[in-house]
């Protein structure tokens, strides 16, 4: 049995930072994950708001007051940026999965576009809503 160590192999290390310079490709990708996880938190806030409206006017006034306060506005703005970014990031995955723009240059362009589009859409959301 030459391969006794099978199954006890080291896992690949986390590369960005100590071994690898942050780049548009890696940062835009990791931001898709972070915004995806953050969006579950935004969802929890919005469900809490819905539940409060379904419970009583007093509960609603409290939670609605919280979400429309300055802190609530900032949280919801960041939440909307995150969900827009995640949507564009996932759209990039769909485009990649269909086999288009897989080269480094278009991937970097799409990464920049994701940051720009998410910011524009979040600002637009804040103005319209």
């Amino acid at each position: 049995m030459a391969d006794v160590n099978r199954g006890n192999r080291p896992l690949s290390p986390f590369m960005i930072g100590p071994y690898y310079r942050p780049q548009m490709t890696s940062i835009s990708s990791i931001m898709v994950r972070i915004t995806g996880i953050a969006s579950l938190g935004t969802a929890a806030l919005l469900v809490l708001w819905l539940l409060s409206a379904a419970t009583s006017p007093e509960m609603y006034a409290w939670v609605n007051g919280l979400l429309t306060s300055f802190v609530g506005d900032v949280l919801l703005f960041l939440g909307s940026w995150a969900i827009w970014f995640h949507m564009f990031g996932r759209l990039r995955h769909v485009i990649w999965d269909l086999g288009y723009f897989v080269d480094i240059e278009p991937a970097e362009t799409m990464g920049s576009l994701m940051f720009i589009a998410a910011t524009v859409m979040a600002l637009f959301t804040a103005i319209v809503v």
Partner: protein, 123 residues
Amino acid sequence: MQFLTDRKRAQGLGSGRSGTGHHKRMLMTSMALVVLVPLFVFTFGTGLGGSYEETLAFFSRPFPAIVTGLMLVVGILHFNGECQEAVEDYVHGLKGALLSAAVTGFSWLLIAAGLFALVKLAL
């Protein structure tokens, strides 16, 4: 020297055979999100922050209620999938299994609570 057969050592270390399914589900919900996110953000955003009566009236209209319901299910399942990937990547063993179950449970709790509130508001 461990007295293990090759088969015994290999068992459970291969693919879980659910990766392709996960990938396809994420691809499907990603495409759904491209349609749902703009609809949801502008619809729900309009409803958010109004008075109690305005909110009740808003969610008794079919369009806001249906868009919110779709986002509650499709969106939260997608974000849960996203969290599952992160857990599988960074938390291993028993801790990973428990965290994965906890996150999935939390996601379904959000879906159930959100849908209950939505139905109560809509009807």
